[in-house]
Symmetry: C2
Subunit: 202 residues, 2 copies
């Protein structure tokens, strides 16, 4: 018999961090501060890389879901933070389209530009807004992760599908998390996962 | 309390089709014939779009997993056929890296070029070979699905990461499945899912 089901969960410490932050985060800075905090704790807890994401109601900042990278814990390469957060938000809403008419517009907040897979996941999930610190190659340079061939024109591709993008939020904190992670790896305290033996993936 | 888990399953008819096809498929044509059959049945069963994928041992064709598009059934936009097949293969192997040393090399067989999300998912999963009918825009033209901004140079990006790509297998059968789907939609027998109201996604 072949496998017929896979599942992904988030650990209870994520729920604790979310409750501690409060369930409504009015400013983009507050939303990103939670994401950076989750990302920094995530690699120390050992479940995956230094990445986190939340989905909130765009207008109010009411939190709908939180995700962290769970590649190591779930044994599934698809379990990036964005996929986890978007899927949990869709579970909560009971629909594959977070942009379904009538529901409050949603925003995805991530601690760097999504990788190739997660750019696609964000395009298809129905969010209206993406918030990131930056989309430069600085993160890849610090951590060694391979983000895939995302084109230079990726923001216009998002905008063409009705998704606005905001950059410049929580940049120094995000960089600090990646530097913390690199030090952690250098000390031999974290598995730097590496599919196909040719690069790492986030 | 926020949602802490999501799950994706495949229906039992997929298992039945796999058992009927036999668990070892020596030729690329046999592998693609199963994929096209699963894709054609999938939209008729109502769980998602006309897409299917399998993961096999590249050398022998021994089937490791099978996936179909489950966006409608799972209420998760990430549940494309490739994500389902790759994740179920990783469940079976107990690792996020299908290319982990020592294990037989694996091949992903899909009934068209993967969308942006699934190009990323395929890059990060550890497969060694991708088999598709074609990568032209003919599928999007027939079905109306939006596959996202996958660059012209996508095959060289796969090859740079150690993944070879074979095109030209089961083309006419794949096109027939998409035409069947388009007729099904035209008759009002299928939901053409459509995130962000600006296009559809596969």
């Amino acid at each position: 018999m072949i496998a017929t089901e896979f599942r992904v969960d988030i650990p209870l410490w994520v729920v604790s961090e979310v409750e501690a932050a409060g369930r409504v985060l009015p400013t983009l800075e507050q939303r990103m501060a939670l994401v950076n905090r989750l990302a920094d704790r995530n690699f120390r807890e050992g479940g995956g890389g230094p990445f986190a994401a939340i989905v909130v109601e765009q207008a109010t900042g009411r939190l709908i879901s939180a995700g962290v990278n769970r590649v190591l814990a779930s044994h599934l390469s698809v379990s990036h933070a964005e996929v986890v957060a978007l899927s949990l938000a869709q579970c909560t809403r009971g629909t594959w389209d977070l942009g379904a008419s009538g529901a409050p517009r949603t925003e995805l907040v991530v601690n760097w530009r999504p990788c190739l897979q997660c750019c696609g996941a964000a395009l298809w999930a129905g969010v209206s807004h993406l918030v990131i610190p930056d989309d430069s190659d600085q993160m890849e340079g610090i951590t060694g992760f391979d983000e895939g061939p995302v084109g230079e024109e990726w923001i216009s591709q998002f905008e063409a599908r009705g998704i606005s993008v905001t950059k410049g939020i929580g940049v120094s904190e995000a960089i600090q998390v990646f530097q913390n992670y690199a030090e952690h790896v250098a000390k031999g305290c974290a598995v730097l996962y590496n599919a196909r033996g040719t690069g790492t993936n986030a």
